[in-house]
Symmetry: C2
Subunit: 145 residues, 2 copies
């Protein structure tokens, strides 16, 4: 079943590249708890996630190129979780080039409709001294160029 969850995570990359909101939203449980990289502290519900995805996708004039690294999946019975790093790259509508690594943890539960995401936590760490989000980190620990 870790293979099933790995496939679900990988399907998300293609869906983001295609800005395919429906495929992404279909993976979420209706009452999913969301801890997103951008505020607020927490949010709840597949409908809220739909709006977040639409806002995210419409902020880019280019395709959104995701690359996943360091994926690990733990699952047993009807519960499981995946954690990974992902690199997001693209050009926003205002011309800003985004190239950033993000950490993500996804919690799954299986019900009669199959595996659903019941929890998603994405973030970047921050610098305690400056209060700045560290958006230029890379998995190797060196700063991006």
């Amino acid at each position: 079943m870790t293979a099933e969850l790995t496939a679900l995570v990988e399907a998300r990359v293609a869906a983001v590249a295609a800005k395919d909101v429906e495929t992404l939203v279909a993976q979420y449980a209706g009452d999913v708890t969301l801890f997103d990289a951008l505020g607020p502290l927490a949010d709840r519900g597949a409908d809220v996630e739909r709006t977040r995805l639409e806002t995210w996708f419409s902020a880019y004039r280019s395709p959104i190129d995701l690359r996943i690294s360091d994926l690990e999946v733990v699952a047993d019975g009807d519960a499981g979780f995946a954690h990974y790093l992902f690199h997001v790259h693209g050009t926003m509508t205002d011309g800003t080039e985004v190239s950033m690594w993000v950490r993500s943890t996804v919690g799954f539960r299986r019900d009669e409709n199959g595996w659903k995401i019941v929890h998603e936590h994405s973030s970047v760490p921050f610098d305690g001294a400056t209060g700045q989000a560290l958006t230029a980190l890379t998995p190797s620990g060196t700063a991006a160029g």
Copy 2:
């Protein structure tokens, strides 16, 4: 088994208040993957976590008061995860008063030694416009005073 994982999370609050590094470190698998609220992007290993805890605890001259909110646990067989918000409050050695809400997700796997934390992800969100970590958010969505 969700009760077991709830008890493990709640035991952490008392251990942090007591600055009890050993009790906390004993909950981790040796190869735990850490996504911490402060940099780097990712880290690995109970020994690394021990150093982080020692650094955290020694930065406070007061006890560290943790309060957990919105705890949810999903588990089946030998896999499970918990997610919650926690409020950290205390006085640092330089006199800084910390009062901040953090999101946390903890992934567990059970082996012959019982349940161990194989993954921990703690963070605050950031403001995409300013790049600042949002350390004054509260669960209700209003800013802390």
